[in-house]
């Protein structure tokens, strides 16, 4: 099956084409086509995994040439896919969680008028995402990277008749574009230095390090990190993610929780060889991650919109992944990525159930007591919340808390202390969402209807994954998944600094319980009046949290002010250059005297003059050269 890995990309791509072209005629069937395509893709990836198990560990990295692209002289540029433990893990997450979300979306998008378009974009997204994770060189990775960005843009703005959706789509596109430019520059420096984009060349062959000086490696790494920060919504390019929740909920679950936003983590982990050569870059990754983890966690506390709260939570969780990668615990970062894909997709989809059942209501102040009307949803959300909070034996415990444990054992006490604070906040905000939305008395009108069986089935599968992935896949450093990833990512060596692991584990549980305790104290049903009116009583504090510390507003101010100046400058530039390079004060003088029409009449002579000036300048070069 490894040789057929190209099918994982091709099948969704073809299905996407079918849905986009004749989606109108397919009607409701398009959802099933898309889901079937994802399932096929998943099965192929699974087959490749099984075949990989039959190979010895050192032969598990294989490069599959799908097509030869350009044969430029001796060097051939071909479309290569890389199948190794890391890429197949990512591919399985994308296709597995992707299939479940597609299945869910059939029910969720039942009332939409353009299911063909929606599923076409979703499949297209999966194809690009798979190209990203299966790429054997940075060029294909970049192609996938741009592709998923485009699909994200299209899907956030899917309900383009809603102004906030169109605005959010544009914002996401522009913000991530900043990261993309940095990534492109990074690839450019890479090309200048290595003359190649191939992973084997750039990242070194097995065991051997890439040939590069620390300074250049730092430059490339930081530029790659810039791209990762944009894609994974980390500080300071995070502002697009909360707004991106304007898209349909399956999109939030698939793209903005489970897969696309993790591409940044994947990029850092994949390129860790470069990051390691530069001692600066890894530290920056860790700091960015930790800052994001704390920032996202606290901001989530101020949100009353369930999806926005979950979006900030995603940012926080991605921060933990970056922290793990920055400290060098790559397999653990991937383990958290996998676990997070399960429980965050689950959380988003259950909040999708709430929206579906309550006419798009997502404000927790107008929810409450949903467990009576929506018992399944409440239970499933609770499962996701448990997994996220990090209580043993659920998957969050085996990943997030393991990261903190490893950090402490490694002597990075600062990371442990601040990370534990982040972990406490995580437990706090997720318990807050559960308490406010699902228990207590109803604050909504009418009755909420429970999601259909079609929508519940994938959620149950996700819930099982969310709860038991920690035990099943053994996400701990010596467990199955990290050992599987070892040929690519190396082995995590536990340090021996600080308190022993047992002590740390107990501490982690205590911290989590404190978080849940705070949440219960603040948001228990008896306290309803207090927290609902919190924004009125404490407008300053609530505003800071609700607006994500006003970073968004700051950007808006900068864009509005500096941007307008820039536009004015551009307009001025345009006028001066187009109307003639030599007008100087002339424009002002003529305009002032009302002779503008006369000024415009003789443009051709101006053209000739600038032409002549160009010729003279070129010949000046020759005259100097002689």
């Amino acid at each position: 099956m490894i040789d057929l890995i190209g099918l994982t990309i091709a099948v969704p791509l073809v299905a996407s084409g079918v849905n986009l072209l004749i989606g109108k005629r397919l009607g409701r069937r398009s959802g099933w086509i898309a889901t079937a395509a994802m399932a096929v893709s998943f099965i192929v990836a699974l087959g490749a995994l099984l075949q990989m198990f039959s190979l010895p560990a050192e032969e598990r990295t294989q490069v599959v040439t799908v097509a030869e692209w350009i044969r430029a002289g001796a060097a051939a540029v071909s479309l290569d896919l890389r199948v190794d433990p890391l890429s197949i893990t990512m591919a399985l997450v994308v296709t597995g969680v992707g299939s479940l979300i597609h299945l869910y979306a059939i029910g969720y998008m039942d009332h939409d008028e353009r299911p063909g378009r929606f599923f076409g974009y979703m499949n297209l997204f999966c194809a690009f995402m798979l190209a990203l994770v299966l790429a054997n060189d940075f060029l294909l990775l970049y192609l996938g990277w741009e592709g998923v960005g485009l699909c994200s843009y299209l899907l956030i703005g899917f309900w383009s008749d809603r102004p906030d959706a169109a605005r959010a789509a544009k914002k996401a596109f522009i913000t991530t574009r900043i990261g993309d430019v940095l990534l492109m520059l990074g690839l450019f420096v890479m090309w200048v230095h290595f003359g190649s984009f191939d992973f084997d060349v750039v990242l070194g062959h097995e065991g051997s390090l890439p040939e590069i000086a620390a300074g250049t490696a730092t430059a490339i790494s930081l530029l790659l990190l810039g791209g990762a920060v944009g894609k994974s919504a980390q500080l300071p390019l995070h502002v697009w993610l909360p707004d991106a929740m304007a898209g349909p909920t399956p999109v939030s679950a698939l793209i903005h929780a489970a897969t696309m936003v993790t591409a940044g983590v994947y990029l850092v982990v994949r390129a860790h060889a470069l990051f390691e050569i530069s001692d600066v870059a890894l530290a920056v990754v860790a700091v960015v991650g930790l800052a994001g983890a704390l920032y996202g966690g606290f901001s989530s506390l101020g949100q009353y919109d369930m999806k926005r709260a979950l979006a900030y939570s995603t940012m926080s969780q991605l921060g933990f992944m970056f922290l793990a990668a920055g400290l060098g615990f790559y397999p653990t970062a991937i383990a958290l990525l996998v676990a997070h894909a399960f429980y965050k997709a689950l959380l988003f989809l259950t909040s999708g159930n709430v929206m579906h059942g309550l006419h798009d209501e997502v404000d927790v102040r107008r929810l409450g007591g949903l467990r009576h009307d929506m018992p399944w949803t409440a239970a499933l959300f609770g499962a996701g919340a448990l997994a996220l909070s990090g209580l043993p034996p659920f998957s969050g415990f085996f990943t997030k808390d393991v990261i903190l444990d490893l950090a402490s054992r490694d002597g990075a006490t600062w990371a442990f202390v601040l990370g534990s604070l982040g972990a406490m906040v995580s437990a706090w905000y997720i318990a807050r969402l559960y308490f406010t939305a699902f228990i207590g008395e109803r604050r909504y009108e009418g009755s909420a209807h429970e999601a259909s069986a079609l929508m519940r089935t994938p959620l149950v599968v996700l819930a099982v994954g969310a709860l038991f992935a920690g035990i099943g896949l053994e996400l701990t450093p010596e467990g199955t998944l990290p050992m599987f990833l070892e040929p690519v990512l190396g082995h995590v060596v536990e340090g021996d600094a600080g308190p022993s692991t047992q002590v740390l584990m107990v501490l982690a549980v205590v911290v989590t319980l404190i978080g849940i305790g705070i949440a219960w104290r603040l948001y228990r049903p008896a306290n309803q009046e207090r927290w609902v009116s919190f924004p009125e009583r404490e407008p300053g504090m609530a505003g800071v949290l609700a607006h994500g510390f006003y970073i968004d507003g700051l950007y808006a101010w900068i864009v509005a002010n500096v941007g307008l100046r820039g536009a004015a400058a551009l307009a001025w530039f345009d006028r001066t250059v187009v109307d003639g390079a030599v007008n100087g004060v002339g424009t002002l003088a003529t305009r002032a005297s009302g002779l503008a029409p006369i000024w415009q009449s003789g443009k051709v002579r101006r053209y000739a003059l600038s032409f002549m000036a160009g010729g003279v300048a070129l010949l000046l070069y020759a005259a100097v050269k002689i």
Partner: protein, 481 residues
């Protein structure tokens, strides 16, 4: 007594087909001024097919020169001629549709198109600077008139500007020929190459000659700062003519520049490269920046073609065959995209009084999904976004420039493409995301859509499997002298 010259007419068979076709079309249009256009269009297509066939017939000929060293027979010329015939076919069809739609009979159009193509086919094979000059004049004269062909005031003014500045550029070109002759006592490309590598030539004069030639030819391909005419002319000319000239002129003149710069002045490559790099960077930057400020699609495409010329020129800092192949690939992908884009603009803009402001494109995706999709493909390719040919072209061109060590140029190019992506995607967003306003004046006929699907498919196919033509282009890039 004069020895009789060697007259190998078979060597210029494609050119003869085009000029011959042009003469016949001219005669016919003289006798049948008010006749239906269809026979003229069909005849033009036949002439183009004959020219293409005779060009293909030259593919396996031994690389040499003919007609007393005036034209060269090589694969570079064959590839370029084929591209030109292809562009010409689309130009002829689009023109036919354009004039037919308004029942505005301009049968001279076909003769002029064939004359222009003849000049271009001659230019791509020219092995002597005098022939380069004459070919440029032939194609320019034909293009000036084609620009003015609807006799509306806009086109007429555009043609006049083009003509005046073109005459100015010709002076530079001719002066360049004179200087080159002064440097080497020959006007032949081969002779120049030999004289400049040997002891007979004068390097300083040759450098000045080469730069003057660059000015003259740079005007034709709209390099900054010789680009000022481009927005006015591209906007003012009838859309099919713009489509034709923006693509074909660049193909022909850039191929001529390959011969002039890489062969004749090949030994000066080291001295010429910085000047070329500056022109290229200037075109990329200014073209992209100014395109952002435009509110009219034709004008925006005109500025974008300035930037595209800069991208193509950036491969000229590498005189290796990779550079030539990259330039050829870029020219082909650019031609397909730009012919398609102006073709779609022609269909959208209504009748002969073209309305090409941005508001015409607002919400086009709702009203004219096919046209909007086609235009999006072309714009994506011009922006260099995968999986279109424009992306591959940029990779190849930048690769060539990088291998020549001009990576700052590539950096500028990369930044310019980012700026470029902005204004191309803005049009796509305008079509896809906004609500339509006003009445729909787009042309409803199905055949032009079908025809324009051909360049769209070309752009996508070349983007996904560029391998199908790159080896051929690399063979064409081998210039043995």
């Amino acid at each position: 007594m004069i020895d009789a010259p060697r007259v190998e007419l078979w060597a210029i068979l494609p050119v003869l087909m085009l000029f011959g076709g042009g003469l016949i079309a001219l005669l016919a249009s003289g006798f049948a001024r008010r006749a239906a256009q269809a026979p003229f269009a069909l005849f033009t297509l036949a002439a183009l097919a004959a020219a293409a066939a005779s060009a293909l017939w030259l593919w396996n000929r031994e690389t040499t020169t003919a007609l007393e060293g005036m034209v060269s027979i090589d694969r570079l010329a064959v590839v370029a001629t084929l591209a030109l015939c292809g562009i010409g076919a689309f130009g002829a069809y689009l023109g036919f549709h354009y004039f037919e739609r308004d029942d505005f009979r301009r049968n001279e159009f076909y003769a002029l198109l064939l004359f222009a193509l003849g000049g271009m086919a001659l230019l791509v094979a020219a092995a002597d600077l005098i022939v380069v000059f004459l070919a440029v004049e032939v194609l320019s004269l034909a293009l000036y008139v084609m620009t003015a062909l609807t006799f509306r005031r806009g086109p007429t003014e555009a043609a006049m500007k083009y003509f005046l500045l073109g005459a100015f550029a010709s002076a530079f070109l001719l002066y360049g020929v004179a200087m080159s002759y002064g440097a080497s006592a020959t006007t032949s490309v081969q002779g120049l190459a030999r004289a400049l590598t040997g002891v007979g030539g004068s390097q300083p004069l040759a450098l000045v000659g080469a730069l003057l030639l660059v000015v003259g030819l740079g005007f034709k391909v709209s390099l900054v700062p010789f680009h000022m005419w481009t927005p006015d002319v591209y906007q003012g000319a009838p859309s099919p003519v713009t489509a034709f000239m923006s693509a074909a002129t660049k193909v022909a003149v850039f191929v001529a520049m390959v011969r002039v710069l890489d062969v004749a002045f090949g030994s000066l490559a080291w001295d010429l490269a910085p000047a070329i790099a500056v022109l290229s960077a200037g075109s990329m930057i200014l073209g992209s920046v100014l395109a952002i400020a435009q509110r009219d699609v034709k004008r925006m495409l005109a500025y974008s073609s300035v930037a595209q010329a800069g991208f193509i020129l950036s491969s000229f800092v590498s005189p290796e065959r990779e550079g030539i192949a990259a330039a050829l690939f870029y020219l082909i992908s650019y031609s397909a995209a730009v012919v398609g884009a102006f073709g779609v603009v022609m269909l959208i803009s209504g009748g002969i009084r073209e309305q090409t402001g941005f508001e015409r494109f607002r919400g086009l995706g709702r009203r004219q999904p096919v046209l909007a999709a086609l235009l999006s493909v072309f714009l994506l390719s011009l922006a260099g976004i995968p999986p279109t040919a424009g992306f591959v072209a940029k990779v190849l061109v930048f690769g060539a420039a990088t291998s020549a060590g001009y990576w700052p140029l590539v950096l500028i190019g990369a930044l310019a493409s980012v700026a470029g992506a902005f204004f191309y995607l803005r049009v796509i967003a305008l079509m896809a995301m906004q609500e339509p306003r006003g009445v729909d004046i787009a042309d409803p006929s199905p055949l032009p859509r079908l025809v324009l699907a051909v360049p769209a498919v070309t752009v996508v196919v070349l983007g996904i499997v560029p391998g199908v033509i790159v080896p051929l282009l690399q063979e064409a890039g081998v210039l043995t002298w």
